[in-house]
Amino acid sequence: MTIDITVTINGRLYRASVEPRLLLSDFLRDTLGLTGTHVGCEHGVCGACTVIIDGDSVRSCLTLAVRADGATITTVEGLGTPEQLNALQHQFRECHGLQCGFCTPGMLMTGMDLLKKYPLATDDQIREGLSGNLCRCTGYQNIVAAIRAAAALRNETTP
């Protein structure tokens, strides 16, 4: 049995017929080829698969693709490009906020959500906001620095 869904991803409309059990993470990666979203645990702990659905950060490994019917989704492919990184991606590069890059898409999507919703006035607030995303390479220090820098830029441009 399959179910027809319509999803807008990174500004493009996709129609697909999917099994009810198909995970959104597998739909993005295997069906659509959007492999920028990574799967690190498949039980909602590591946060690598985080995407933005209708304005909120969500674990795509805990979401069924059919639940995304009618939704608007942003994945890491919907941020900047290699030639034109977006502000947060640029700060990740400037601050060395990534090493192996595997957790990075989830960190970026969570970071985008945090920047949109929270003041992020202190490092403690940033660390709390990131506590649902695991990184094994960086010790988090430079990820925190990247988000701190992006928050400062945000505050300059939107007083």
Partner: protein
């Protein structure tokens, strides 16, 4: 003025890249979803593999019924050990060590299973969902055998044997001796001792293990894409096992999402995928889910150490003895063997200290658990934990400050090279400089005052130091793992300028997050005289160079960097020779910088592109004999290796209500020689320390008495999040090493120093209760028990 003293115009024009925090070449693709990890591969008509894994810790496989699974929707094939046994040779992790039994590595469990999570049957289907559906249709009949989970029990004469052919579960036993340590300890003024334990860890890279065997029917060839940090070793081993020449077996590590050692050994799944792809003539793909990855990737750090350290009246350590028991798991891994981790504990126990006599005995005992293998630091996180704890215990017993007792025992600048009691030779490194720098950066005296005030207020505040040294960038004279027959002492760089003027530098090293594409390009830019942005570094591909191993053991800056320097200089000389023709000047007058060859002191230049055109395309410009192909290759062997060292300092406070340890301050003063990219070095230190803090406070693989894994999810196996890791201050002592470039390896050090520093800080915090720390991790539960026992003893 002599030429050597003058600043040449070309020197001013030549930008220096080594030493600069250059932004990483890797980042734009990794930040935008344009990286390619193994699981992202999409070969034509790929089939998906799923493994039925053992639920038994030790059992005979009586029967396997796969009939229903074979008939399930989408299933293309089902393989048991029998089905593939004739298609490959088992891979044997041999060693020249005496008293060692090498367990063969097979694609699927054969005859019996030896740990929960061992792969028994492979299902190959049109998609992963269908493959997993079919797994549930397989019936396996097991006859349980005795389970051995405790290495002491497993070493007993009447214990059930995991490998009957070995005749014992003690897969390796060794002893290191210098002088008469027992007599010296008996005669010592003071001695301190303890039974120390580090529980099993999972290195836990965020990317689970993943393999994609891509079959090329036209060439009868396989390309294995693998999340490995040793693609060269995997290629050589599989070529032998499958009887395929290297020209038909290519192994590529594309973007790899961390390893920390867990992807640094050959795995049964890599054999199975290649064997099955060849048999089915189809491309196959498998990615571990997190449970599989935790349950079947190599684990580590599982040792118990009885150790005693004797001191004279001045606090000078004189003799050390230790008995180490390693819980090595069910198999000896390839190529490092099960001796790697426990033997390294014994090799490094004397640490950076001038201890005269030593006896270190080690046993590696097989248990019904997954194999242990390398994990960042290998052995040294444990040896450092033990020795640094003993140093602090002695400082307390002798009434000497922990900083001072280390200063009295560290090898001093004028004493290098120094052979420690286990036989390792330290070359000149800033042991004392790191100790002093850490104390200064942390403002040690002020921290002690802060502690006095906290104690007066009844708070548990502690300061912990740890000093260590490690061997990095090891050359051919020293085996990375004891008695191992493969060469880990050299690496090759091949640098080519093609007919378009593009520079491609190919290496066998295999970055899995360290940023080698950036750092190696920095080295080449300086020594070749190229523009950094023009250099493309290719690595992790067995087709790139004739022989390679990969990235492990803190070797790639030293070996890869050394090869890059030498190959760059060879190619620069070729460019100069061509340019001397084109510019009609003597070779010695040509200077190469920033992608141009220039007649020194003039504005007469040719670009690399013009040089390439002259050599390859424009056949009128050069005499035939001057058309040297613009390629250079160099295989670098540092012969010995080089020392790296650090001192870590941690300040912690313990919450009496929750028994939660909060790390308030963390300082690392390290000497990794000449730094190629300080931004990347700092990042490596931060990440290493975070893993060390995880090992010290949270992380623990728990197996029950029946060998069942109780910590198979990230809920139960807790790695630190951003909240648990403090800000880490890093201070660099850059004393150049003797190897090419003056580099030292540094990728592992953070994890070596941190468990000891945290353990010492906790023991210091709880000193008023008389508590010592002998076991890691110090979880809140363990701490609660220690505190309860201490309080009840105080009341008595």
């Amino acid at each position: 003025m002599s030429k050597g003293d003058s600043v040449q115009p070309a020197d001013l024009l030549r930008p220096r890249h080594v030493g600069q925090p250059i932004r990483r070449t890797e980042d734009p693709r990794l930040l935008t979803g344009n990286g390619e990890y193994t699981a992202d591969r999409k070969p034509d008509r790929v089939l998906h593999v799923a493994f039925r894994r053992s639920e038994q810790a030790h059992a005979t496989i009586v029967a396997i019924d796969t009939a229903q699974a074979r008939a399930a929707p989408g299933v293309v094939a089902v393989f048991t050990a029998e089905d593939v046994a004739e298609l490959y040779k088992p891979i044997i992790p041999v060693s020249r060590m005496a008293n060692y039994y090498a367990t063969p590595i097979v694609a699927l469990a054969t005859g019996k299973v030896r740990y929960v999570g061992e792969a028994v049957v492979a299902v190959i289907a049109e998609d992963r969902y269908l493959a997993e559906d079919a797994l549930e249709l397989i019936e396996i009949d097991y006859a349980p055998l005795g389970v051995v989970t405790d290495p002491e029990d497993a070493a007993a004469a009447d214990a059930p044997l995991l490998h009957d052919e070995a005749g014992t579960n003690v897969l390796v036993a060794r002893e290191f001796k210098k002088g008469d340590a027992a007599a010296d300890i008996a005669a010592a003024h003071t001695s301190v001792r303890g039974r120390f334990r580090m529980t099993r860890k999972a290195p836990l890279a965020m990317e689970p293990r993943s393999y994609c065997a891509e079959f090329d029917g036209r060439r009868e060839a396989i390309t294995l894409y693998t999340s490995s940090n040793i693609p060269g070793i995997v290629r050589d081993a599989l070529a032998e096992s499958l009887d395929l020449p290297g020209s038909r077996l290519r192994v590529v590590a594309p973007d790899v999402g961390g390893s920390f050692g867990s992807k640094g050994s050959l795995y049964p799944e890599e054999i199975l995928l290649c064997v099955a792809a060849r048999k089915l003539r189809r491309s196959l793909k498998w990615t571990a889910d997190r449970l599989e990855d935790i349950a079947s990737s190599s684990q580590s750090f599982a040792e118990t150490i009885e150790a005693e350290l004797g001191f004279d009246a001045d606090g000078v350590a004189v003799a050390l003895q230790a008995d180490v028991t390693g819980d090595v798991g069910a198999y000896s891994i390839y190529p490092w063997t099960c001796a790697l981790e426990p033997v390294q504990v014994v090799s490094f126990l004397p640490g950076p200290y001038k201890i005269k006599s030593y006896r270190g005995a080690v046993r590696g005992v097989a248990t019904s658990k997954p194999p242990t293998g390398p994990y960042r630091g290998v052995g040294r996180p444990i040896s450092t934990f033990v020795t640094e704890r003993l140093m602090d215990m002695a400082a307390k017993a002798l009434g000497i400050d922990p900083l001072e007792i280390r200063r009295r025992n560290l090898v001093r600048d004028d004493e290098f090279p120094y052979r420690i009691a286990s036989g390792i030779i330290w070359d000149r490194t800033g042991f004392v400089a790191c100790l002093d720098a850490a104390a200064e950066a942390a403002n040690y005296a002020a921290l002690r005052q802060q502690q006095a005030a906290a104690r007066a207020a009844g708070r548990w505040f502690g300061i912990g130091l740890s000093s260590y040294a490690e061997l990095t960038g090891i050359g051919s004279r020293i085996a990375v793992a004891p008695g191992m027959p493969i060469n880990t002492g050299s690496e090759t760089a091949k640098i080519r300028i093609d007919s378009t003027g593009a520079i491609t530098a190919t290496f066998g090293v295999a970055s899995h997050g360290q940023g080698l594409e950036t750092t190696l390009a920095q080295v080449i830019a300086d020594d070749l005289g190229a523009r950094f942005d023009d250099i493309r570094v290719v690595q992790g591909d067995s087709d790139g160079v004739p022989m390679s191993t990969g990235t492990y053991a803190s070797r790639s800056a030293v070996l890869g960097g050394g090869a890059a320097k030498h190959a760059s200089v060879l190619l620069r000389e070729k460019i100069k020779r061509v340019a001397s023709h084109l510019l009609e000047a003597a070779v010695d007058d040509i200077d190469v910088a920033n992608g141009f060859a220039r007649v020194a002191g003039t504005d007469r230049t040719v670009s690399f592109k013009q040089v390439a055109k002259a050599v390859y395309s424009d056949m009128k410009t050069l005499p035939v004999e001057a058309r040297e192909e613009l390629e250079a290759s160099y295989t670098y062997d540092p012969i010995n290796g080089t020392t790296a060292c650090a001192t870590h300092l941690a300040a912690v406070e313990i919450d009496p209500a929750s028994c939660f340890v909060k790390v308030l301050k963390y300082v690392v003063a390290e000497d990794c020689g000449r730094i190629i990219n300080p931004m990347i070095v700092d990042g490596q230190v931060h990440g290493g320390v975070a893993q060390g803090i995880g090992a010290a406070l949270y992380e623990e693989m728990i197996y029950d008495d029946t060998g069942q894994l109780l910590s198979a999810s990230l809920v139960d196996y807790v790695i630190p999040s951003a909240v648990e890791i403090p800000h880490i201050d890093v201070v660099h002592i850059e004393s150049e090493s003797a190897v090419a470039g003056g580099f030292r390896g540094m990728g592992e050090g953070g994890t070596i120093g941190a468990p000891a520093a945290i353990a010492n800080a906790i023991a210091d915090a709880l000193a008023p209760l008389g508590i010592d720390v002998f076991e890691l991790p110090v979880t809140p539960e363990r701490l609660f028990r220690l505190i309860e026992i201490a309080r009840s003893q105080q009341q008595q």
